[in-house]
Symmetry: C2
Subunit: 502 residues, 2 copies
């Protein structure tokens, strides 16, 4: 019998992101005996734990003999402390890849096959390439039965919240693609002031200049564990937490990471992604906001209707009360883009400040009205009026402060060290803006990694502008980033279309 091959584990100080890599010397006995070479998939075992990693071969200078080097994520996943003797072998055959191949050839998968794939992905057995292949094969090719199975499998991949005392647990989700559209904190404040239960978990930005979790983090602590979420909701009926800290539908996060690296975003996967998070959070009623616009994620009403139908079908099968709304997505919502700038808009709306962006306020009231209507059945017009009253009276602001207090207290909003105001190149009416390039501009300025970075619009669609009149201000933490964004704008001034009203 062959002996198992064991080598001493060493941390390499290399961050290979989410794909675990291990390092072996070219002259390593184990490589030779086992036929390992560059890019072999290996299994590393220690006690009862095992991980799969990709092999990189290194020269003698990099690693002493008898050692196996680990990238940061590989080290963490195997729970190493240093000095352990780790056993190396070929990665076992991934049977669920047969199901992926079946999907590649366009065949429908059974719930069991989908489950096996998601379990293997959750257990980090797939390489990024294999996940990319699965994600690609699923785009535009999942029927509703498969989307339902995928949603269930993703829910089962992680922890779940449950609310035995709450007959109704409300949630909202926006499909995205419109910068500054940060209604969630306002909606949660008003709806929970009205007595609804809203344990809201949100994501950080993946490709946008800010996610709801990034914006809320400017205002309070969002890093809540499952127990803290339960405690906060018990106390104030709502929370505004970062979903990443609680292991809800972790397989979804793995698929999203690859989808974004490829910049593909299949409808079926989007529905499964959104609904798996809601189900894992214990939601019973879900409102979906689908902004439609030429530079938004959804670009036409037929596309929006098709997506809404898919959400309805899958939501119903999974026992959710679900409603989809299409909203206007032609331009950025509010004035601020980037965590701090969006937080300023939120506070202005909650404080009924005169400079508060009307579009952000009205969108939040509209969504909250729908939530109240879904929960209680009251007339929509009456529900929106009730939301407006809760906001105007300051009750929503009080409730927002209570939520922040329960999460660790309201924080001071950071200010950017560098700013640059940019004006209209010529006079005319602001006819259009490109959401995607606007988002890119805020990201180049440093958002969301620098929370204070981003931009503030000084004009909305339909507004008349004189030549040189301020269009927007850029905010950045370094002169370099400010210059970088300004350079991009110099080449992309047409992201704002200024002309004669047609």
């Amino acid at each position: 019998m062959t002996e198992p091959h064991a080598l001493i584990a060493v941390e390499m100080g290399i961050d290979t992101h989410q794909e675990p890599v291990v390092f072996l010397r070219a002259d390593c006995e184990v490589c030779r005996a086992e036929g390992f070479n560059a890019n072999t998939r290996l299994q590393l075992s220690l006690g009862g734990r095992a991980i799969i990693a990709t092999l990189n071969v290194v020269t003698e200078a990099v690693l002493p003999p008898g050692r196996v080097g680990f990238s940061r994520i590989a080290w963490q996943r195997l729970g190493l402390k240093g000095g352990e003797a780790v056993t190396l072998s070929h990665a076992p055959v991934l049977h669920s890849m047969s199901a992926v191949r079946k999907k590649i050839y366009g065949h429908a998968l059974s719930a069991r096959e989908i489950d096996d794939i998601i379990q293997d992905i959750s257990a980090h057995r797939y390489s990024d390439m294999q996940i990319a292949s699965f994600v690609t094969a699923c785009v535009d090719r999942l029927d509703s039965g498969e989307i339902i199975a995928l949603t269930r499998a993703m829910v089962a991949s992680g922890k779940c919240l449950s609310w035995p005392d709450k007959p109704q647990v409300l949630d909202k989700h926006c499909i995205g693609g419109v910068p500054g559209n940060r209604t969630t904190p306002i909606v949660v404040a008003i709806a929970s002031a009205a007595g609804l239960t809203m344990p809201k978990t949100s994501s950080r930005a993946i490709t946008s200049p800010s996610g709801t979790a990034d914006t809320m983090e400017v205002l309070t602590n969002v890093h809540l564990g499952l127990d803290q979420i339960q405690a906060t909701v018990a106390q104030v009926n709502a929370c505004l937490a970062w979903g990443g800290a609680v292991n809800l539908s972790p397989a979804d996060d793995m698929l999203i990471r690859i989808e974004h690296a490829l910049d593909v975003d299949g409808e079926g996967q989007m529905v499964a992604s959104v609904l798996s998070k809601k189900l894992a959070a214990g939601s019973t009623h879900v409102l979906i906001d689908i902004p439609v616009g030429p530079t938004a994620k959804v670009r036409s009403q037929p596309q929006a209707r098709h997506l809404a139908h898919l959400f309805d079908t899958v939501g119903k099968a999974l026992g959710l009360r679900l409603r989809c709304l299409t909203t206007r997505g032609e331009e950025a919502i509010g004035y601020g883009i980037g965590p701090a700038q969006e937080a300023l808009d939120i506070l202005a709306v909650l404080n009924n400040a005169p400079q508060a962006p009307a579009d952000l306020r009205e969108r939040a009231l509209f969504l909250t009205g729908h939530l109240l209507n879904m929960a209680s059945g009251e007339e929509l017009a009456a529900a929106i009026a009730r939301a407006r009253e809760l906001l105007a009276s300051g009750k929503a602001w009080v409730q927002f402060q209570r939520i922040c207090a329960a999460q660790g207290g309201l924080k001071a909003i950071p200010q950017a060290a560098f700013r640059l105001e940019l004006g209209a190149g010529h006079s005319g009416t602001l006819l259009a803006m490109d959401n995607r390039r606007l988002a890119r501009l805020a990201k180049l300025a440093g958002a969301p990694i620098s929370p204070a970075a981003g931009l503030r619009l000084h004009a909305k669609l339909g507004q008349a502008l004189a030549r040189g009149q301020p269009l927007f201000t850029l905010y950045a933490d370094s002169q370099g980033e400010l210059d970088y964004a300004a350079d991009y704008y110099a080449d992309n001034q047409d992201l704002f279309m200024i002309g004669e009203t047609p």
Copy 2:
């Protein structure tokens, strides 16, 4: 204006295979200013050259400040010597990924779009994930127009051979999946002895225990440049070279690497892959061998006919005279599996040795007959008889020795240090063998990395076996590898089905 960011290049001694990786310190000024983080795609420029690489972030101990580390392939591709100041920036937007997304959604691509994708892949601008996505999206979803465009784009990605003095240039290709099916050296020897021009380039094994280039390398030098191929063919009318040394259709090699990592193999890509190599080699007449069997690559006659039809359509459009033959693929051909063992079979056939495998000889004669028939139009039966005569008379063996002499001389076949004979577990008739597991067994013994490793069969289908009668001998270069293969066989004895004749 922002300054370009330059850092001093350092070789890290890390082999990341074909995907270039660069390493930056977490505290690096450039990361901060440009918003680089783990897995960002970067462009590294030096003088007029630029490469795209994936970023890995490292700790202070790994890299001095002001330095950027390079993996081996990144270092080679940028042509670094050490100490150069390399400029870092975000990788430019890959416009051809829009076409990949179009294909993901099932739309047909134009020749221009396919060309752009292949150009970007050839220029190493795609990550492995992006190639995986493209490969996945193409499986089973390329129409013949797209396969034609893909073939042309792959030919254009590299060098081409041309034979202005030769009206006919013959080639053969086997789809694969049957171990030991090493007809090519025999076919080339006989056909070129008959006066046909055969500048044969072959690949090394990718997932099999040996490729034609691996087997031929046991017998002679196969590492010929374009000039050497031209010279050898001018001298002896044929060659048996490794295709990897001459940049013929290099994009094909990049796609194949990912297809094998994913274990997907689309029909359209296979046709484009094979024909791009043939066109780049300057072939005019191509014979395709499609073995069909339950454990071969092609498993049914309808599948073989479909593939043959695709080859015919695409070959015709590209101006090739092409013929597909389906052959039996139920069992390994010859006795040897692995480079040296297959070379022994080839020499036995060419020398008309009494122990020469009849199936390998007859298959080679059948294929050569078809080539002669394609080239001259003579009757197939007469052509096969002519091939038989050239072999039996020793003229093919003389011609084979001339080819080897022109390539650098005939070599002595290496012998394995360790061997183990394994017998039948019970008596009966050998009814079936599993090609895939047989190939795996030879690979576990060390083939093709150890050329002497592999196995030699002592029985063919239909043969009666007594209990304990030798079934096959394993060959390996180390006791560990021999044990590893023997262990695998202990768990997989049913790869040989021995029973009563039905």
